[in-house]
């Protein structure tokens, strides 16, 4: 019995029960379109890779993190006492930012390639749900160290749901576990971050990935216009997979570099009696709605301004989510162009409000 015969026997035994060879056959036949925009096909995979890194570093942090009153002390110990604790924490924080960035690149490249059109509407919708859950991951995780920055950034960030008319304050109270951000808040956010959100994210992710396998990669309109004979493609195995893994390794290198050369800092323990530091603001991926609220709050007086800002942002998101029902297929003509301009407007608005936000707090 050589290893080869043992391996074949084991494979055969598993295949009779699980049907692996069908999967293998599918993988061998699967192709990926090759054209000028093929570079964007990697970004969903990069996001997936970063999510897996977050799970891995997150579990390691979970071993030493203590939610509640000892939150800050446990994070201090992780950062300065545990061997390589600083590295795991630094990697987790940086990967969170990189993941949000790659989600946005992925979302916008899907949008501009019009990969939300029939039959991929569910892919788009599940993607938007994943984006929402990822934003919640970011917001909840940010509070967990309970240092000055996370405490005040969360306090300020929770002003956004408070601005929702009628039910806003109740929602905020439920999130905070009371009128203030306290050790009870951090326990709730911890439960969210470690149990509830993963339980939502992972099935959604599975659905999202299954859809990609079922429908294959979308191609841009210019490529669709070409006759089938002129369209190039590469086999998924091993060509695309090899390049996919290379992109993952490059992402890992970028993360290692950032985490080592710019280790994530830990500020002073939070003090609820202290005044908020000057220029406090949420992380960059929340800067845009934060700034929009501020801008409209200064244009329209009082509550009206906040509600208007919230409405505008919500309207924008709703339109964004519903885009597959507006720009349905390649016959949608003028709508396709309008959708494209809407996308450009969204990118511009997000980038501009983010930049303005940072400019005004510097």
């Amino acid at each position: 019995m050589t290893t080869k015969t043992i391996a074949t026997d084991v494979y055969g035994w598993m295949d009779e029960r699980l049907g692996i060879s069908d999967l293998a056959a599918f993988a061998r036949k699967k192709t990926v379109p090759v054209h000028a925009q093929s570079f964007w096909y990697y970004w969903g995979g990069i996001t997936l890779f970063l999510f897996m890194l977050q799970c891995f570093t997150g579990v390691l942090l979970l071993v030493y993190y203590r939610p509640g009153i000892e939150a800050f002390e446990s994070v201090r110990q992780i950062t300065f006492v545990m061997n390589f604790g600083w590295l795991i924490r630094s990697a987790h924080a940086w990967a969170a930012n990189l993941m949000m960035f790659s989600i946005l690149v992925h979302m916008f490249s899907v949008f501009f390639m019009k990969a939300y059109r029939k039959p991929r509407e569910f892919g788009w919708l599940s993607g938007m749900a994943l984006l929402a859950v990822a934003a919640c991951f970011g917001f909840s995780g940010y509070l967990l160290p309970m240092d000055e920055l996370s405490y005040f950034a969360t306090k300020v960030g929770l002003e956004i749901p408070v601005a929702i008319p009628w039910i806003g304050p109740a929602i905020a109270n439920m999130l905070r576990g009371g009128p203030d951000v306290t050790e009870f808040t951090v326990q709730r956010f911890f439960a969210l971050h470690v149990v509830v959100l993963p339980a939502l994210f992972i099935p959604l992710l599975g659905f999202h990935l299954w859809l990609v396998q079922r429908h294959g990669n979308a191609v841009p309109e210019s490529e669709e216009a070409k006759p089938a004979a002129e369209r190039k493609s590469m086999p998924f195995m091993p060509n695309f997979l090899r390049k996919d893994i290379a992109m993952w390794i490059i992402s890992l290198n970028v993360l290692a570099l950032l985490a080592s050369v710019f280790p994530w800092p830990l500020g002073k323990a939070y003090d609820s009696l202290a005044p908020a530091p000057m220029g406090i603001h949420p992380e960059w991926y929340f800067m845009s709605p934060f700034e929009m609220l501020k801008m409209l709050g200064s244009v329209l007086p009082g509550e009206a301004g906040e509600i208007a800002g919230l409405l505008l942002f919500t309207l924008g998101i709703v339109l964004w989510i519903l885009i597959p029902f507006y720009d349905k297929n390649k016959e949608s003509g003028r709508r396709a162009r309008i959708a494209h301009y809407f996308g450009l407007l969204a990118v511009f608005a997000l980038v501009a409000t983010t930049v303005i936000g940072y400019w005004s707090v510097r």
Binding site: F84, A246, L257
Partner: protein, 462 residues
């Protein structure tokens, strides 16, 4: 001190050297490696009658000439300007110590530039054997430039006990050869040679990646595979050379690597861990990309892959150079001159006379405590710190009041052996009045006086 202070806002003058030098190292070390690559490749092509290779090599040598002749030269001279402005005391010591032993570099630079131009312009115009000789002359001149600059650089880290024994006596030149071939000279030379070979291979990969794999499969495959092999020596030899290098550095300086960032982390949160992590990960990736993407699949190897390898190599060499810079602290010339230009045995004199007594370029002299403090800050702290930019003192001293700042400076002034700052900061030299003045100045930065109309005396900021 003897020279004016070169004030670069936010970055600090040290980083001017850093930025130019990082750029220069990627090109100059390529110049040495490429200087060997070209004649070796030409010789192989002539022996195996590979005319397709020869045609490619003409293009390589043009790229090489422009890159090294223009950018290498500009950045190299840029370093010369920058070091003279940033740390004239150290530069002066190096010049006085080595004189033409250093300046002879210029002879080899001239030979390099001339032969590089001749090599390119006489392709297919002169006898092939003579052309190859021109290539070898270039290679020789280029290697000589590395041999020389390596002596100067390693002297700064480890002047060696022999030279230190005669330092300050006026007889330093009698130990010229000991100073030149100092403890870290040979490990550093071999380390850098490996890097040169790797960079030669990587830049060649960039040129080779631009060949159309579907039209010239055999040419691309052979060039890509041969270029990848140039990476092998460094990966095999580096670990041993690193260990040898570190072993030759004095223990007190080596201890620096186990320290964290500004007394923050220790244990595994240290510079050596962070740099080692970066170097190991990036090197493993280079091996992976070079083998799986370039060597196994040359037809598909495109310029973005090659540039990725180059950037990874930049990160790896950058991390190594950063660690070397860390090792040298608190000195600019190991155990002889602190980073701020104060010579170790002269500290006592300055403590007695006062810092400003030996500063010819302080324009407003002794107007006020604040302006004296500012002059002392620039002279003693400005070599490594800015106020609000790189290693910002306003932030590093944040939270301290006037008394705390003074006790901090006093701790640096007393420079006791168990002081945690002993490893990477020079002592604060000067009289008690200097300590006071510096504390006043720094306090005004950390705790700016409330807007009550009375601003501290302004000094010339130009």
């Amino acid at each position: 001190m003897n020279y004016p202070f070169w004030d670069i806002p936010y970055l600090g003058s040290g980083w001017v050297i850093g930025i130019i030098a990082i750029f220069h190292v990627m090109i100059s070390q390529f110049a040495v490696g490429g200087g060997l690559y070209l004649p070796l490749a030409e010789r192989k092509a002539l022996r195996e009658a590979r005319n397709d290779w020869l045609a490619e090599l003409v293009g390589y040598s043009k790229f090489f000439l422009i890159l090294t002749g223009v950018f290498g030269t500009i950045s190299g001279v840029g370093i010369w300007f920058a070091i003279g402005l940033t740390n004239p005391e150290a530069t002066s010591t190096l010049i006085h110590n080595f004189v033409f032993g250093w300046a002879i570099e210029w002879v080899f630079f001239m030979v390099e530039l001339a032969t590089a131009a001749v090599y390119y312009y006489t392709w297919n115009k002169i006898d092939a054997k003579l052309h190859l000789v021109v290539g070898w002359v270039y290679a020789g001149a280029s290697v000589c430039t590395l041999i020389i600059i390596n002596g100067i650089l390693t002297f700064m880290l480890t002047p060696g006990d022999t030279w230190l024994g005669v330092s300050g006596t006026g007889h330093e030149a009698s130990k010229f050869w000991n100073a030149f071939f100092n403890p870290t000279y040979w490990p550093s030379l071999l380390l850098r040679s490996c890097v040169c070979a790797s960079l030669a291979g990587i830049w060649a990969l960039i040129s080779a990646s631009r060949i159309d794999g579907s039209m010239h499969a055999a040419l691309k495959a052979s060039l890509v595979k041969w270029s990848v092999k140039w990476l092998v020596p460094s990966f095999v030899a580096m670990p041993f050379l690193f260990i040898w290098y570190l072993f030759m550095v004095p223990q007190t300086q080596r201890a620096l690597l186990t320290l964290g960032i500004d007394t923050m982390g220790t244990g595994t949160f240290s510079t050596v861990t962070r740099m080692a992590l970066v170097i190991v990960m990036v090197s493993a990736t280079i091996i992976g990309v070079a083998y799986y993407l370039a060597y196994r699949n040359p037809a598909d190897f495109n310029p973005s892959h090659a540039v990725a390898i180059l950037l990874l190599a930049l990160v790896a060499t950058g991390a190594g150079e950063y660690s070397r810079e860390m090792l040298r602290k608190p000195y600019v010339i190991g155990r002889w001159m602190y980073s701020n230009g104060v010579r170790v045995p002269y500290a006592i004199k300055i403590d007695h006379d006062g810092y400003l007594a030996h500063s010819n370029w302080v324009w407003n002299g002794a107007d006020s405590s604040y302006s004296r403090g500012e002059a002392i800050f620039r002279g003693e702290c400005g070599a490594c710190h800015t106020l609000n930019g790189y290693r910002p003192l306003a932030k590093l001293l944040a939270g301290r009041d006037r008394a705390n700042i003074e006790s901090f400076i006093t701790m640096l002034h007393e420079y006791k052996p168990d002081s945690p700052y002993h490893h990477f900061m020079p002592p604060m030299v000067g009289t008690q009045e200097d300590v006071d003045d510096l504390a006043n100045f720094l306090n005004a930065q950390v705790n700016p006086p409330a807007a009550n109309g009375q601003k501290p005396v302004q000094t010339a900021q130009k």
